[in-house]
Amino acid sequence: MNKLAIKIGNLTFNSPVIAASGTFGFGLEYKEILNLNDFGAIITKGITTKRREGNPLPRIIETPCGLINSIGLANPGVEEFIKQYGDIYKIFPTNVIVNVAGDNANDFINIIKRIEHLNVIGYELNLSCPNVSDGGMILSEDPNDVYILIKTIRNITNKLIISKLTPNLCNTTELARASEEAGCDAISLVNTYLGMSIDIETGYSRIGKDYGGYSGPAIKPMALKLVYDVSNTVDIPIIGIGGISSGSDAIEFLIAGASLIQVGSIIFRNPQIAFEINTFIENYMDRKSINNLNDIIGTFKGSI
């Protein structure tokens, strides 16, 4: 048996490590240098109804131990996505989850209806992209709206519904609870933090918008805290995200209460991170005589 396997409902993930949306394209880009099934699943770039060119340049700026992005959900739109990847996903080596980004509830529903026939195990609802002014942020602020949105989506699909939350609102736990009550299967968090960087020579923003989404190891301590808080609030599985850059980081999130974890920015630096995390967790389990990942999840003991 694969020690790293973990189940969510009736779905099996052969590793708790998932490639985060926006950091792994549509799954094929890195295929020459890694095994796709080192990942329990990969999550696509956020898909919108229409093609989006994305935000003005520059879109990426490095900061100490992290980066700020202002991609602006550049993507080919749902129809082109289906054309390009529908067949590829029929025989994909690991689970595929589509990250769906709607401007409003109708968008979410339309996109999901259009891709429901694809061989993907579920949808991660991007309720939180900081980079689109008319985007998720508004929709995602109110637990009632989130409840209604997810309830409606629940009515049209039996696939996995994952609610992806932002760390930039203070009602994360309420949004998580609303998601759970509406029938959501899992919560993933965190999306990027709001961050800014100024070019002191020109006085302009160093990215194409006034601010962008901040990610990478720098956000880990805060993301871990939020995952812990939310895991104490809901009973559905949590997918922990935020600055994970090593096997040890991944285990911290499991201990804090995450059932699965996502790796994002670190992929740019170390595309083989999933393999490394898997190996690390396996050794850790051997060393500690743990046979089941579930025996790690949520075992945080507090302070000594």
Binding site: L57, I60, P64
Partner: protein
Amino acid sequence: MRRIKSQILSNKRLSKELHLITFTSEKIEEDLLPGNFLHILVSSSLDPFLRRPFSIFDISEGTISVLYRVIGKGTGIMKDLCKGDEIDIIGPLGNSYPIDNSNNIYCIAGGTGIASIHFLIEYIKQNHPTKQITLCWGTKTIHEFILMNEFRLISDKIIFSTEDGSYGNEGLITDFLPIFKDNSVIYACGPDGMLHILKKKPIDLPMFFSVEKRMACGVGVCLGCAVKMNNDTYKYTCIDGPVFNANELKYE
């Protein structure tokens, strides 16, 4: 595309800011074409966090050389690497300069743009020895003309310019371009400003630019390295480029 751990063989300072680093290639060099780049992780510390993209300056059996200018955190660490140290490399990445049937090759290089142009000239000399190569090379000051003898050997003609007039023509290289012959192609690599000026010139020849944009992934997943096209869509430097047909590019 492969990922390798590479050993530094030498790391020399050639001028105040320019350094040449040579490292083992684990056979990656066999797949390299002029214009391709490598994505290099220079340190195991998480600061700097991202890899750095660099063009190929030169290859030989089992080794690759990169010419780099020390400008920030990453290159600051690079310059202190010693023989035997390890770096982590992903490559080859990106497309390459398209080589057509033209007899006359004009290479226009500004600053570290000379790196990919060097590899290009060497490659053409080796694979298309009858082609005539003119190099137009501009720098800030005389000291940045590194390895001049070698360039004299592989180019048929060189036009020099420096911004401070310390060598060759005084001014920007774009002001001292030769009269282009027919049946020619132009390859240019250098700062955005230089490419912008070139693009505005009424040149009626095929012209290809190698561009530099900030990159996170280098392989097309992050969508960070966008370049604006004439039709207001974006292409991506790392997978659609770094070499673009100058016609396609939009400069505002």
